[in-house]
Symmetry: C2
């Protein structure tokens, strides 16, 4: 096990009816930026619950709607302007990972001295941020329980990330009932996103970390177990509750403490979204088989352990088990409506060259647990996927 | 799954050499109460590492030694007096769970307006506390990653607990190498203590919480796996590291979020320590078989799941598997030198009556996940144990 620092100060308020608690969680006297996405919260009751809680607390708020999937810098800067003009001093992000990520950027950008895009493009240090709380309506990205954010810029076609302790959510409300009206496409995407988050921190090589391995396997096995019920309509409370809890646990720093990480699937996937606008989770399902094919030898011991513990596959050689686990994973993703492999998606013929060119253009540090996935290797991954 | 709030702001600094980090973690200009136990830290190098870090940070400190196992109110009040006299404003607890628990009480008692014993005996509200950091040298209680504390009072023979968000450790340093000089009795106790902490939050009844179940099983299976190497001499870094990480995870709020809890073994065990001075972990091993015997019917479904997933026992009926899992657990405890069952300990013949009388005397609320373990049931538990 490697040395690590684990710190996660997010206050998680979990369960039905918990949105009402935000009246006690937002500091009294705050002027709130109530930010959300495309308006689905107005039809599923979440908007009304949030407004009731804000009124209950006697808070002043301004609404900002229209934060899109893969939130755009251009949109977010309008929220920054609103917050600056109206002197708003608390941000309440209501929605999925895109709203949460977007609001983290807004929180950091409001007091930022300089061009906020530098936070993403030049990794400019975030020294302070407006405090932020989240009401989550889409279990997937884990943004509700971490201090990371991914933002896209339409004019340049870039999709970049930043992280800072200044943007830890002060609280996150996870009410499984708020997911009931989600389209099944988004539920399936969420299952895949959470699953791949864990795999990025687990499917590497043995590292004397049996507890972390088992924590990762706990999240993976639970996701596999609840996936059918989580996809069902009418929705199943317990399945949605466990999906929400799994998605938060998948990327809150715990599973990945003290162990090697991969993340190549994510970084290559981000480029596919930037180039072709494919849903984030779908890019992961598109790219992952390519990583497994190209890095099979380096990962097969861990893949075989994953086969045994998550999929109950005990027969055959290490290679056999590893291949069977990859097949099971693809089956799981397909079963929740997310196609796997690159061919399933409508991408330009030269996608591999485009991704490699982007890696080179911005001097992308080599990815993967061995730090060997550079632009050339990314091309091989996409060819294999 | 039940509604829950999860919040754990402790900053965990994990790994070899991390004690040096306290120079950055303690606020500059602090006047530090450096509190420890019986002096073992002076022979194993931990004292020197702490002093070097305090000097490095240019901090002023006062030492307070002699915090005993099952820390006593009388001792701790002397630390409170020192801190008040010397206007100390940060507490650095260096040792095991007793030093950590004792220092949480000291932290709360220093600014307490009134008789600090009321914090324990009357559950007086703790509104503020002096900030506290921990350097852990004995993985066992989990105190390094929670806001709870257990304190004993010699003159009345009481052992009582309190918890408050005011006493969250600001940081905890977990360096596995600092455990190398522990007597094997304390390592064995630590394994049992961590194991029982998880069982108190897991061995109840099925509650639609598959992720929590698997997280609990992850800690239990890891403890069982590493126990032999953790007991070995010379010490094994990876085994000690995983033991330390397991003990912290066993009682940091995560495993028990949204699920029923038991804790009857602990509460009855505390009385055995108060009456006869038996090590905390040993009281758990003494009492636990009695709880399993008396509550077998209510717990057997979960015991059978535990048998399958932690002990790989798949044959026989639910009852068979449940009994086999109890036997395996006792074997594990015995294998690390901790006898199980009451008969293995030197206790007064009327121990059951004494415990029952104490429960009645202080109106102990009924214990267990069904809230049915009262004074009479505690007598039955002790008879069965």
């Amino acid at each position: 096990m490697d040395n690590f620092t684990f710190h996660n100060p997010v206050r998680l308020l979990f369960g039905k009816g918990q949105i009402a608690q935000i009246s006690k969680e937002i500091p009294a006297g705050s002027r709130v930026l109530f930010a959300f996405g495309g308006g689905s919260i107005k039809t599923n009751g979440v908007y009304d619950q949030v407004v009731a809680a804000l009124k209950q607390a006697g808070l002043i708020w301004r609404e900002f709607s229209g934060i899109e999937p893969n939130p755009r810098y251009e949109t977010l800067m309008r929220a920054v302007e609103l917050a600056r003009t109206e002197k708003l001093d608390f941000i309440l992000a209501v929605g999925g990972g895109s709203v949460a990520d977007g609001c983290k950027f807004v929180a950091a950008a409001i007091p930022f001295d300089g061009e906020p895009w530098d936070i993403l493009a030049k990794r400019a240090k975030v020294r302070q941020a407006v405090p932020l709380g989240i009401v989550l309506t889409l279990p997937a990205t884990g943004s509700e329980m971490n201090c990371f954010s991914v933002v896209s810029r339409a004019e340049t076609g870039e999709k970049l990330s930043f992280g800072s302790p200044a943007v830890w959510p002060r609280f996150s409300v996870l009410d499984p009932e708020s997911t009931y009206t989600l389209p099944s496409r988004q539920v399936g995407n969420g299952i895949v996103d959470a699953f791949v988050h864990v795999m990025e921190q687990y499917l590497t090589y043995p590292a004397d970390a049996p507890l972390n391995d088992r924590l990762a396997e706990a999240v993976l096995a639970t996701l596999a177990e609840i996936a059918p019920a989580a996809m069902a309509n009418p929705p199943d409370y317990q399945a949605r509750a466990n999906l929400m809890w799994c998605a938060a646990m998948a990327l809150n720093g715990l599973v990945g403490s003290g162990v090697p990480h991969d993340w190549a699937t994510h970084y290559i996937g981000h480029e596919l979204t930037a180039i072709s606008g494919i849903d984030h989770a779908r890019t992961l399902a598109a790219v992952w088989p390519g990583i497994m094919a190209v890095k099979f030898e380096a990962k097969k011991v861990k893949l075989a352990q994953y086969a045994e513990r998550v999929w109950n596959i005990h027969d055959g050689s290490i290679d056999d088990k590893a291949r069977a686990a990859i097949a099971k994973t693809r089956e799981l993703f397909e079963s929740v409506g997310v196609p796997t492999g690159l061919a399933a998606y409508d991408l330009p013929a030269d996608i591999a060259e485009q991704v490699a060119a982007r890696f080179i253009a911005r001097n992308q540090a080599p990815l993967g647990e061995h730090g060997d996935i550079d632009a050339q290797m990314a091309k091989k991954v996409l060819a294999a996927a």
